[in-house]
Every structure is written in structure tokens, then in C-alpha cells.
């Protein structure tokens, strides 16, 4: 069996990749995907820990998170679409009229 | 009802009725507004005289105490606690006396937004009276800060060309000090579980080290307000830009709040620190006296001159306070009163001429005594009082202060008093130079200029004379027969000094 530390490490790596993705990418959709990746990294951690402690808790939490992520998608995509409609672009760097 | 009928509550909040009434008066009936404000300030003066009547001078303790629980939950113990004693009675009277005088002086000087002006002025009076009567640290702080707001508007709206700059500077400067005071007054409040000043004093026992820091924090607030050297930079700006009535109140009362704070809080609350730091305070006071006097001499703007002279005069007050003996402290209290009268009168007079000429440049005047004899004579008396001529009020205060400081065991160095006495010479120099340049010598260029504009320089009119007469009465009264004043101060000061001696190590 793969030791649980590996899972945790994987989850940490995924989380970091996700976070860096947010920092590096300019496409709003990809940023959004990176955020989803961070959430799923957390999910992985939950499930791993649940396995360690032999609880259900962590797994159930993972389901909650998936549900929340779905809700976020709904809101997020709506926002992105609305912006694409008016700006014809989803490059976040073009959205910098508010600053200072 | 009982709450409102307490004499001290009444004297503090009576102007509030005026404020409320003014809100509902039409803003275009200027004279009605003026007389309403005047009436309420005179009423306050009347009530303060009633307070004086009730005041039992030989009793050294707080009197006419109004004490009600204010915030007494959740570990708070804040009270509405007002009281008057020898330290504050004179300042109370000074405040209620100068306010109607100042308002009367605005009759022709303030023509715009009279309603607001009067509202702010009455609000200012509430704050000032409250500061002198509050006996609870929190209550004091509230009044203390509150005075800033109306004064800020008075300078900012009705001031000179750089009024906004001056107003903001005044506000920020004062606030900087009071912020530290806020922290400091929480200190004893947390330790002692009460904010009542008499309770804190009687419980005593703040550790020496803590005393030291708290003393400094309070000093920050008071020293800026006084202002002590080198924190005086806001004062000339504020004075120059403030309207006459504002200058009068600023110099006459607001600055006294600082010296009063030292007296009311620093000395009794942190006696050991007061004794230990007295030489330092004396040092700064002495520098302030000489510095202010030197700067006053070099000013070309008469209002600035008077402003710097205030720095010098209030240096005397600080010196007297930290002599920590009855002579010095009594002298300092009397000098606060004197300075209020003399400098207030100076600003009034400067305002009266400014109203006609619209310039404060000393250079352009000259020979006014010939053209306006009454004005010149009144100015002379006031100027002499300001430079401490014996027989007039300023001398009594300065003499007792210097006398006290000279032999003070707390300051323990007669040089401070000796050097400060130089300030008396320097005062003569700048006051006489000012008087000479404006009132003596040949006719100044302004007379010619006014003629070209079709104005003739007039002497004081009846209203102005009526304003000045009470000031002159006090100038002579205190100078010739200060006994009634010392009688009011004396017992409390003796008590304070005796308490200092029992609570500190250094004083014999």
C-alpha cells in the first residue's frame, strides 16, 4: 500500500500547482480551473486523513467540497460569461480599470 | 431633573439649550442669532457666578460634586463626575467670562454664516467648561477632544487665507497628543478599576516606573496644547488664521486646558514622576520662555507676535506648576487667568484694528496713539499687563511663579528661575517694540492708504469700549488686590502640595 505521506505530499504539490496557476495564468477560465485544483488537493488530503483515522468524516467532507465547488462553478462561469459578452475577452489582465 | 439642576451640570450644559434653540432660528436674522448666543453665554456667566457664590473657598476639596454612574458594566467604572475646587474655579470663571466677550466682539467681524458660528461657539463653551469641571478621566477626555471640533470649524470656516491649513494642523497636532493621553488614562483606569480622579489619587500607589511613562504620555497631550517648546509650531498658524473671537478663546482658554491638565492630572496622579521630572519640565519651560520671547520680537505680524508671546507666557505657567510649592502653583493658576485676560484682550484689540485696516503687518502702522487715543491707551495698559508691569495683573502671576521656582526644592536649581526672569526683560523688548512701532512714532503708511480708500481710522466705538472695560477692570483688580483670587486658589493648592509631600520621597 502506498504510504499516506505520499498522498499528502501529492496533495501539497497539487495545491501549490493550483496556487501558482492562479498567479501565472491570465485566462480567467484557467485561473478558475487552478482554483478547482486547489480545492481538490484539499479533498485528497481529507480523504487521505479520513483513511488514516478510519473515519467517515473526511470523506463526507470531500463530498461537501465537491458540492460547493459545483456551486462556485455556477456562479463563476456566469460571471465569466457576462464579462466575455461585454469585453470579448476573458484575460484577467484586461480587467484593471479599478486600481490605485 | 435633579441631574440637570446640579449647578455644575447646569453651567456646563446651559449653552446646549442655546445650540438647540439656534438650530430653529432663521439664519438670515443675524442680530437675533447674535443676541440669542449672547444671551445664553451671559446666562452661563450668571450660572458660573452662582457657582462662585456656592463655592466655599476655604474648603480645599472638590465641591458641588455631581456624581452619577455613567458606564458601570462589564468591568467599567465610569462616572459622570463633576466637581470644582480651587484649581478650576478661576478657569471656569475665565471661560464663562471670555465667551460672551468674544461673541460680543464678533458683532461686525462675522457677517457670514452667523448661525453656524454661534452654534460652534456655544458648543465650544460646553467643551471648555466641561474640561475644567470633569473629575472622571473618561469624561475629561470626552470634553477635551470635543473642544477640538468646534474650534476646528471656527478656524477652518471663518479664518484667514490659510485657514484650512491652520485648522488641519491645529486638529492633528492636538489630536496627536490626546491619542497618547487616551492610552495613558486607560492605564490607571485598568489598574485602579476606576476612572474617577479623586479615587485614583487617594488610592495612590502607582509604581514609580509606571508613573514615569504615564506622566510622559499625559505630558504629550498637555504639552502640545499649552504649547510647550518645541511643540509650539501649530500655535502661530492657528492664531494667525483664526478669527478674532477664535484667537481670544484659543489663547484665553484652550491653551489653559493644557496647563490645567498638568495641574489636575500629572501632578496629583503621578507625584513621584512629577517630582523627578520637575527639573526637566522647568528646563523646557525656561527654553520656551526665552525662545517664545525671542521669536515674538522678530515677528512682523502682530498676531504672530502675540502668539509667540503666549508660548513665552505659558512657559512661566509650566515653570510655576513644576516648582511644586504653593507659591509657584498658586502663581501659575493666577497666571493662567491673567494670561487669559491679557492675551485675550490683546487679540481683541488687534482684531479691532484689523477690522478697519485688514492688515496685521506691524510695519505699516505707526503713530496710532495720536489718531486713536482711546485705543492706544487701552492697548498700552493691556500691553503693560502682558509684560508684567507691577500693579497690573501679569506681574502678580509672574512674580509668584518666579519666586516659587527660584526656591523650589523640586526644581532645585535657581538658574531656571533666574534665566526665566530674563524673559521679563525680553517681554519688555517685544511688547514695547510692538507698541512703539504701531502706536508711537510718525504716522504709518496705512493711514494714508486708508484715506485713499476713503476710510478714516476711527477710535474704539462704544461696543468695543464696553468689551474692553471688563478686561481692564480685571487687569487692575488682580494687579492691585489679588487677594480674592488667591483666596480661591490657596487652600486647594496648599492641600495639593501637602499631599505631594506625603506621597513622594524627594520633597522634604
Amino acid at each position: 500500500m502506498v504510504p499516506q505521506d505520499y498522498y499528502i505530499a501529492l496533495s501539497a504539490i497539487l495545491f501549490t500547482i493550483g496556487a501558482l496557476g492562479v498567479l501565472i495564468r491570465r485566462n480567467a477560465l484557467i485561473i478558475f480551473m487552478s482554483i478547482e485544483m486547489m480545492l481538490n488537493a484539499a479533498n485528497l488530503a481529507f480523504v487521505t486523513f479520513a483513511n488514516t483515522y478510519q473515519h467517515l468524516n473526511g470523506r463526507i467532507i470531500a463530498f461537501f467540497v465537491i458540492a460547493v465547488a459545483a456551486a462556485e462553478v455556477a456562479v463563476g462561469l456566469a460571471l465569466i460569461v457576462a464579462i466575455f459578452k461585454s469585453k470579448h475577452s476573458i484575460d484577467v489582465d484586461q480587467m484593471s480599470s479599478l486600481k490605485g | 431633573m435633579e441631574f440637570f439642576l446640579q449647578p455644575l451640570t447646569l453651567v456646563t450644559f446651559f449653552p446646549l439649550l442655546g445650540v438647540l434653540l439656534l438650530f430653529f432660528l432663521p439664519s438670515d436674522k443675524k442680530n437675533l442669532l447674535r443676541w440669542t448666543a449672547m444671551g445664553f453665554t451671559l446666562g452661563t456667566l450668571g450660572i458660573s457666578l452662582w457657582v462662585l457664590e456656592l463655592f466655599n473657598a476655604p474648603n480645599p476639596h472638590l465641591q458641588l460634586v455631581a456624581k452619577y454612574d455613567w458606564i458601570t458594566v462589564a468591568g467599567w467604572n465610569i462616572q459622570y463626575h463633576m466637581g470644582v475646587d480651587g484649581l478650576s474655579i478661576l478657569l471656569l470663571l475665565l471661560t464663562t467670562f471670555l465667551t460672551p466677550i468674544s461673541i460680543f466682539s464678533t458683532w461686525t467681524a462675522v457677517e457670514e454664516r452667523v448661525k453656524e458660528f454661534m452654534i460652534f461657539f456655544l458648543m465650544l463653551e460646553i467643551g471648555m467648561v466641561g474640561v475644567f469641571l470633569a473629575q472622571d478621566l473618561f469624561l475629561f477626555y470626552v470634553f477635551w477632544e470635543f473642544t477640538l471640533i468646534p474650534m476646528y470649524f471656527l478656524i477652518g470656516i471663518w479664518g484667514g487665507p490659510r485657514r484650512i491649513y491652520a485648522a488641519i494642523k491645529f486638529f492633528l497636532y492636538t489630536m496627536a497628543g490626546s491619542g497618547l493621553m487616551l492610552l495613558a488614562l486607560l492605564g490607571p483606569g485598568i489598574e485602579g478599576k476606576t476612572f474617577s480622579l479623586p479615587d485614583l489619587i487617594s488610592s495612590g500607589g502607582i509604581p514609580t516606573n509606571t508613573q514615569f511613562w504615564l506622566f510622559l504620555a499625559f505630558t504629550a497631550a498637555f504639552a502640545i496644547k499649552v504649547p510647550m517648546w518645541p511643540l509650539h509650531s501649530w500655535l502661530p498658524d492657528a492664531h494667525v488664521e483664526a478669527p478674532t473671537a477664535g484667537s481670544v478663546i484659543l489663547a484665553g482658554v484652550l491653551l489653559k486646558m493644557g496647563t490645567y491638565g498638568f495641574l489636575r492630572f500629572n501632578i496629583p496622579l503621578f507625584p513621584q514622576a512629577a517630582v523627578d521630572l520637575a527639573p526637566w519640565m522647568a528646563l523646557f519651560a525656561t527654553i520656551g520662555i526665552l525662545y517664545g520671547a525671542a521669536l515674538a520680537f522678530a515677528q512682523s505680524d502682530v498676531k504672530k507676535l502675540v502668539a509667540y508671546s503666549s508660548v513665552s507666557h505659558l512657559g512661566f505657567v509650566i515653570l510655576g506648576l513644576f516648582a511644586l510649592n504653593p507659591e509657584g502653583i498658586s502663581g501659575a493658576i493666577l497666571q493662567m487667568f491673567n494670561h487669559g485676560i491679557s492675551t485675550g484682550a490683546l487679540f481683541l484689540l488687534v482684531g479691532m484694528i484689523y477690522e478697519q485696516t485688514h492688515t496685521r503687518e506691524i510695519k505699516v502702522y505707526g503713530g496710532l496713539w495720536k489718531i486713536t487715543p482711546v485705543f492706544g491707551t487701552v492697548m498700552l495698559i493691556v500691553a503693560l499687563s502682558s509684560m508684567g508691569l507691577p500693579g497690573l495683573n501679569g506681574f502678580i502671576g509672574e512674580f509668584t511663579i518666579l519666586l516659587g521656582a527660584f526656591g523650589s526644592t523640586a526644581i532645585n536649581n535657581p538658574w531656571y528661575a533666574g534665566l526665566s526672569a530674563l524673559g521679563i526683560i525680553m517681554a519688555a523688548i517685544y511688547i514695547l517694540t510692538m507698541f512703539q512701532n504701531m502706536f508711537l512714532g510718525p504716522e504709518g503708511s496705512i493711514v494714508e492708504e486708508l484715506k485713499k480708500r476713503g476710510h478714516v481710522l476711527r477710535d474704539l466705538n462704544r461696543r468695543e469700549i464696553i468689551i474692553m472695560i471688563p478686561m481692564l477692570i480685571f487687569i487692575f483688580w488682580v494687579g492691585l488686590y489679588p487677594k480674592p483670587f488667591f483666596d480661591l486658589i490657596g487652600p486647594t493648592v496648599d492641600n495639593l502640595v501637602a499631599a505631594l509631600q506625603t506621597t513622594t520621597l524627594a520633597l522634604p
Binding site: - | F297, F395, I489
Partner: protein, 712 residues
Amino acid sequence: MLFSEATTTSFFSLAPWLVFAPVIGLLINIIIGGRFSEKLIGAVASVASGATFIVSLLLAYSVWVGHGQGESIFLAEWIHVGSLSLDWTFRVDSLSTTMMLVVSGVGTLIHIYAIGYMHEDVRFKNDPSRFRRFFVFLNLFIAAMMILVSGDSYLMLFVGWEGVGLCSFLLIGFWFEMDTLARPSWANSNAAKKAFIVNRIGDLGFLIAGFLMFWYLGSLQFDEVFAAAPELADTQPGIIIAITLFLLVGVAGKSAQIPLFVWLPDAMAGPTPVSALIHAATMVTAGVYLIARSAPLYNLVEGAQSVVVIVGAATALFAATIAVGQYDIKKVLAYSTISQLGFMVAAVGMGAYVAGIFHLVTHAFFKALLFLSAGSVILGLERGHHLLAHAHNGGAADHDDEEEVRRTEPAEVFDPGDMRNMGGIRKTMPVTFWLYMIGSLALVGIIPFAGFWSKDEILLDASLKYPAVYWLLSTAAFFTAFYMGRQIWMVFFGTARHEAAANAQESPKIMTVPLMVLAGLSILGGLLNLPFKGFHNLGHWLEFTLGEVELLGLDPTVAGLSTLLALAAIFISWLLYGRVTLKQADRDPLKKPLGFVFTGMENKWFVDEAYKAMIVDRYTDVCRFLADVIDSRFWHDWFHEKLIVGTYNWFSNTGLNYYADQKIIDAFANGLGRTTKYLSASVRRIQNGFVRSYALSVFLGVVLILGYLILK
């Protein structure tokens, strides 16, 4: 206590009226004097002053019948604070009544004289409305002087002390808009200011002496101070020395001693009655009175006494040399006054209090006489000058016609006080001439005039105690005789050097009659204290107050020598000035033989210039520097505006490329340096509107926190 003696003849309780009388006089003149005629104004003031004299007489009488027993008359409580308790209490004893009599007596005469003098003066200066003001000031002076001499404590004395200083200021600057020649100028007001400020320097010494007294002797009341002093003198004599020397500083200010004498010559800017009353007869002698009053202190410390003597003697000689080089009739008298004050100070310093006070009294008589006569001369010249002006204009010489005078502008700048414009006035103003002669002889010390007796007593005392000082004073006396001789020859003899002098007119009776009284006193003043057994009246009188005093007889050597010196000096002055009448443009005959020494005398040894260069200008510079550089540019502009407000501006600029709110910050705006602009630009970059950089900020925050936790 008030009437402890309870004699039916005691008038002690009248003492407060010494002050009340002149105050009532001046109040009457202030309040309703506007409607009075000039005569009435003068009468009110003179009556007030006369009343003071009568009260003084009654008090003196009371002291006399009480066998010298003085009284302290309590009026009201004054300062009671801490352990300081002072009252308004009048001290009536032989010393103070002597001063009261001199002040009110001479004062009243001068009041009367001034009615005549000012009547003309205000017309020559074109402001008759100022007549009333003059008498108000004069009465105020009498009141202040009375407080000075009758005070029962040092502080009350100080009230009078500064009070007379104020009056001096007001009266020197009486014609504040002009100079002595009535040209628009700051000169008179400068002189007034100078007098007050120099006096204040002296007053500082007085104050500090007071502080020392209070803390070491426990009181400021005379008797208490004197009672405590001997003990302190045993334990800490240094303190007594300090007290006496600080008092000396005060004396030097008020009595115009070295180094504070510079104000007195300038004080001649005041109208002549003022010069006579304040700056010759009374106020300036207050210092002498103070030392005499403090005799119990000075007697304890001989070192301090010798300092006083040296200061006095040096002043006497120094001022006398300057007087030799002056051309202004009043300036000569002014330096003479300083010199004579030096005599008095030296006398009281030696412990010869009687001699000092004696000379004070006689000097009051003859110097007042001299000044007033000089005033008469000056007015006489003015009259002559105006007469000429009218003659030139073809108008009638009607001096009482105010309108006429007002319209008449002097055609040239004419200095009626300059002796070089005078000469031969003996003939045109005979009464004045004789009065002046009497005064001069008294001053020079020719037997039997008053000055002889008093000066001789001082010289005698000096010869016994301080031989060196004796020679200094004798030299001064020699110079005195010389400059007075010079003056007399130049003014009254020879021929007129200016048409005005030729046409000078004698003064009216109201002026000359008081002068005659003074002349009488100058002649007979010596009777007060003749150096013969049984005639030491003043000596015995003052003994009541000062305790046992040494009463000296007449020393023929000293008296003879001083008389000889005086006569010799007069003779030399005749050789130089009297034998040949000088021309107006002539250089002074002394100029050639004495050279630069005379230049020094002419220019008052450049003391004023030195003070200006070393003190006045430096003070102004320091003040300017503090005000302009330290306070304004450094503290106000740099520290507050640049550092604090500049920082504010810098933050304003971090968000935006322009001043955040121009209107408000305008006031603060003081320009930003390039560095701050660069910095602001780089900080601005952070809040740039890019989501990713915001996320970066969050991320960096996380990294920081985790880093802290892990590496902690």
C-alpha cells in the same frame, strides 16, 4: 497697631493719601478733564501734587513729634500665597518722609512750572490736546514715586520702582511722533523704549535680589529682612553679598550708573519739566534711596559696599568727562546728573548715608532749578525763533493765537537746545540767567550754596575711608565746575550766535516763580545739615531710621581744596569759552589740544555704539535667526512641512499621479523631491488592478506566515 502711639498729633493714618491724592487728580483729569481749560487741568494736577506735599509734611511732623518713631500704616492685603505674605503697607519714617518731601515738594513746583511750559510747548508742537495727557502722566508719576518711597516691603517699593519707570517711558515719549527738533521721527519713542528696557534690565537684578531675600531671609518686608540678615551674614555671607550686588544692578538701572547709564541722556527727549522732575530730581535718585533703605544689609558686607563705591565714583568721573564734550544744554545737564548720582551712590556705598541723602536733597533743588531754567532758555529761544519766522512772513507775533502758530512751519531746522545757537542770553532773559547762575554755583559747589555742603560731606567721607575714591571724586568735581563754566559762558555770555538767541524772550511768571523758590532752596539747602555741631539736622533726623551715623565736622583741607579746584576749573573754562565769544561754526576750543580724547567725550566714549554693536544688534540677530531660520525654516517649514506633510504628500502620490485633492493639499504642497516621486511610483505599482498580483499578495502573505511558523 495703627495708632499704637495714639498721640493726638499723629497724622500717620493719612499716609495712603500720598498715593490717593495724585490718583484722584489724574482720574479727575482723565474723566472730566476734557472739558477743562488748560489752567484748570494744571490746577487740578498741581493741587493733587500739593496735597501730597501737605500730607508728607504732616507725616514728617508726626514722625518728628514722635521723636523719630516711624509707623507702618496698613491699607490692604496684597499677596498672600504660601509663605509669602505682603500687604499694601505704608512705611513712614524719617528716611521715607525726607524722600516724600523732596518728591512732592519739587514735584509740585514743577507741576506749576509745567502749566506755563506746556502751554507753549504743545503749541510749538501743534497738538494742544496733549496738554491734559501730560498732567495725567505727571500725577501718575507722583503716585508711583510715593509708592516707591513709602513702601514697607521690597516688593511694594518695586511696584513704585517700575511704576516710575513706566511714567518715565510715557513722558520721554511724550512727543512720540517726532524727535527733539519736532521732525517726524522715531527718535523720541526710541529713547522712551530704551529707557524702559534698560531699566528693566536693572529690575531683573532687583527681582533676583528679592528671590534671594525671600528664600534665605524668609520675607520681603523691610523689618523682617533686616532682622534676619545678621544671622545669615554669619552663616552664608555670600548670599548677602549676592543680594546687595543684585540690588546694585537695580540701582545702576534706575540711577543711571555704569554700565546702565545710557538711557538717561536719551531721556532728555522728554519735555523739560520731565527732565527736571524725573530725570534729575526724583526718580533717578530712587537707587540712592534703595541703598540707604537697605543700609542694614549693606552694612553687613563691606565687599559689596566697596563695589558700590567704585561704581558710583567711576560713574561720577566718567559722566563728568562726557558732559564736557556736549553741545546740547540739556545733555550737559543730563551727564551732570549721572555724575552727581555717582557721587550719591558712592556716598551711600561708603556708608555715608546722611551725606548721600543730603546730596540727594540739595541736588534735587539745584538740578531741578537748572533743568527748568534750561527749559526756560529753550522756550525763550523758541519764542525768539518764532518771532523771527513771523517777522519774515510779515505776520504779527502773536503767540497766543493758536491758529497762527499752527500754520507756521519752521522755515529751517532750528535746534533751540544747542548751545552753539545761544550766547548773550544774559541780556535777553535776565531772570533766567540769575536763576541759572544760582543753580550752577550750587552744583559746582561754591560756598555757601547748598551743593557745597553736601558735596563736601561726601568728599570728606571719601577722604577718610577710600582715599583713592576721594581723588576720583575730586577730579569729577573739577570737571563739573569746568563743564558748568563752559555752559554758562557759552549760553549766557558773549554775543548771540543765532538770531533766535538775540531775540529770545523771558518766560512768564508762572514759570519763573517756581524757579525762584527752587533757587531759594538751592541757596539755603545747606542749612539742612551744616557740618557744625548742633547743625546736623538731617543727620539726626535720619538717625531715627538708619541708626547711629557718624556726624562729621568741616575739614578745611578738603573743603578748601575742592573750592580751589572748582574755581580753577571755572577760570580755565573762562579762558577757553568766555574770553572770546565763539562763532557758530567754530570748533570747540578743546578739540585741538585734547584731540581724540575730546572726540571720545563728544561721542560719549562710544558707549551707545558699543552697546548697539555688541548687544542690541546681536540680540536682534539672534532673534531673527531663531525666528527665520530655526523656527520658520527649520522647524515649521522643513520639519513640519517637508518631513511630516511631505510624507503625507508622498502617500497621496502613491495611489495617483497627481496631488490627491489639489484644493486642500495646495496648502500642504511643497514640492516633492525626485526620490520620493520614484518611490511613490514603485509603490503605486502594487495596487495595479491586476487580479493576479492581488493573488500574489495573498500568496506572499501565506508564505510569510508559514515561513515564520516553520523557521521560528
